[in-house]
């Protein structure tokens, strides 16, 4: 019985974790790309990493927090412009190729030892170097608070303050995306997803709209990256290809082209993984599967879940079946 309670508690802790919120923000951005506009961005982790680098390096160099955040956004903006300018006029697949390569370029550049002074190379930038201005903003005070079994310090490294900020940002981002997508601009995005040429024949500047979508989604990715590194450290490898695929998994589970799908998907993705991992740890003897193997096993199970979702419920949990029914 204790084991079951432990598993549930571990899942709940993962659910409210700031990293879950951070990924949810990045997935909201990816949803603007993939779900609403049909842009196959395979490099969302690159946007996240750039946001994280822009933010952390600026603060380490003594830039005030708001400016550092803007620099993080700026990095994503420039990245989106560089990626989009040559590829948005081409067919969708090319954007996928370019974005996945560009994200890898960002990651490997971050790992370069010549850049140790900036990015900390493969070691990364420890959170202690850039976290202080953020924790200084906290109005939660010192000490710690228990809510049920969730027991965190109010302000500390990985406490209630970063959780509060992270989930507030998730709510704001979801609301902004809701406002954008219910508008005629959002209608244009869906139109472009369906058929670019038709939209062009109606006198709309398709390239400009796609670029706007790429920038907005990329900036949300950058914001996700900034939140992601707050409780930990900036490490290039943490925001690599696999992060992009986690984002896609979360998006497809929750339901693309919906407002809450990305949030629900991220929560399910992380809690399901913890569930599989803890159950395997608790009930499968070490002789069959060691605890490091259960970690990999949990990803395998999540991968299988993704396949099942795509085959049997292609619209995701919250998606509209009718939006996916006609493949004319």
């Amino acid at each position: 019985m204790d084991t079951i309670i432990n598993i549930i508690q571990a899942m709940a802790r993962e659910m409210v974790a700031p990293t879950t919120a951070a990924v949810a923000i990045a997935v909201i951005g990816l949803n603007v790309h993939f779900g609403f506009t049909g842009l196959l961005n395979m490099g969302q982790a690159g946007f996240m990493l750039l946001g994280a680098y822009g933010f952390a390096i600026s603060i380490v160099r003594g830039v005030p927090l708001p400016v550092a955040v803007l620099i993080g956004f700026g990095a994503a903006l420039v990245f989106a412009l560089i990626l989009g300018a040559p590829t948005l006029k081409l067919r969708g697949d090319y954007l996928a190729i370019v974005t996945i390569s560009a994200a890898e370029i960002v990651r490997f550049t971050g790992r370069l030892s010549v850049l140790t002074d900036f990015t900390g190379a493969a070691q990364g930038i420890p959170g202690s170097e850039y976290r202080d201005p953020f924790t200084a903003l906290s109005f939660f005070g010192a000490g710690s608070t228990d809510i049920g079994f969730l027991d965190y310090s109010n302000t500390g490294v990985n406490g209630w303050w970063v959780r509060f900020v992270a989930w507030t940002l998730v709510a704001i981002c979801a609301f902004v995306v809701y406002l954008l997508t219910r508008s005629p601009w959002g209608r244009l995005l869906r139109g472009i997803r369906e058929d670019e040429d038709a939209i062009r024949s109606l006198g709309k500047n398709v390239f400009a709209i796609k670029m706007q979508a790429l920038i907005i989604g990329g900036m949300l990715g950058a914001l996700g990256g900034m939140v992601y590194v707050l409780p930990g450290s900036v490490q290039a490898d943490a925001l690599g290809r696999s992060m992009t695929f986690f984002c896609y998994t979360a998006l497809l589970i929750g339901g693309a082209a919906t407002v809450f799908g990305p949030i629900l998907g991220s929560i399910i993705f992380y809690t399901a993984r913890i569930f599989v991992k803890s159950v395997a740890n608790a009930y499968v003897p070490d002789s069959i599967m060691s605890s490091s193997e259960t970690e990999s096993f949990s990803y395998i199970v999540v991968g299988v879940i993704l396949m099942l979702v795509v085959i049997f419920r292609p619209q995701g949990i919250l998606g509209n079946k009718r939006e996916l029914q006609f493949n004319a």
Binding site: L179, P184, R190, R200, L202, G203, K204, N205, F326, N327
Partner: protein, 336 residues
Amino acid sequence: MPDQTTSPSLADPEARRRLMADVDATPGSKKSDPILVVNNIVRQFGGMTAVNVDHLEVQRGIITALIGPNGAGKTTFFNLITGFDKPTTAGKGAHWSFEGKVLDKTSASSVARMGMVRTFQLTKALSRMTVRDNMMLGAQKQTGENLLKSMFKPMWGGQEREIEAKAMELLDRFNLLEKKDDYAGSLSGGQRKLLEMARALMSDPTMIMLDEPMAGVNPALTQSLLGHIQSLRDEGMTVLFVEHDMHVVRHISDWVAVMAEGRLVAEGSADAVMSNPAVIDAYLGAHHDTDLGEEEVSEEALAEIIEEVAAEEAGRDAGDERTPDDAGSGGEETKK
């Protein structure tokens, strides 16, 4: 520009006939009030020249049909003038203009904004959007399509209601009103054609270009589509359409331009064009008078004929009375 300018009077068939009566029925002839002028537009795909039009003028306010056999370059020509494709001669003498404004370097979306809206041969209904959303996308100058303003509904809510009212009116006219909340993907082929045409009309175009509007539409719907096209003309819109069905062309077009192998080969009224030898050649092939069956017979039954002739000759030799005609024709067959 002479006295004949666009006026609602073009709804009168007699007026249209008078208007076009003075126009030379030759390829690239001058029109009294051309809305679209195309010069020296060439498109090559590798070594194949798909379109090579020296000069074409489209008269304002009437229905012009663009016909031609398969592969004549009609759709490519449409793509070129609407900005969906670039001519090989771009910058090397290709010029085309719409209402006097040069379109040489204009993008597809700008062409549409100038008032020349097209539809597609393979209908581009936005399947996973509702009929209503499809229609709403057609409207121009929407404040809510600006990224910064789109987040604030009061800035575009009023305009949205106006657009919606207009969309409902058009849907009603095209008998699609009860489908307004259905996804466009659930419509039939003919209904999608109607939807695409209605959507194009949302932008209040001055000229509408229809690429095979009747393809795949059932005969009952064809009648109502034709009615719609004619009523557009009667409201003062210029219509240019590509079509294969000769009955349709004869029925509604005021002027016909014929393309074959990328070139403009004839222009004129529907009746004149259809009796034009160049057009008949284009459709039926220059050798359409040759009886292919004759050759087949001579090939297959050559031996038999030789035998027959030989028998005939043998008979004549024997003093039998044969008409010289029969013998002559038999001899010709053998020579082939």
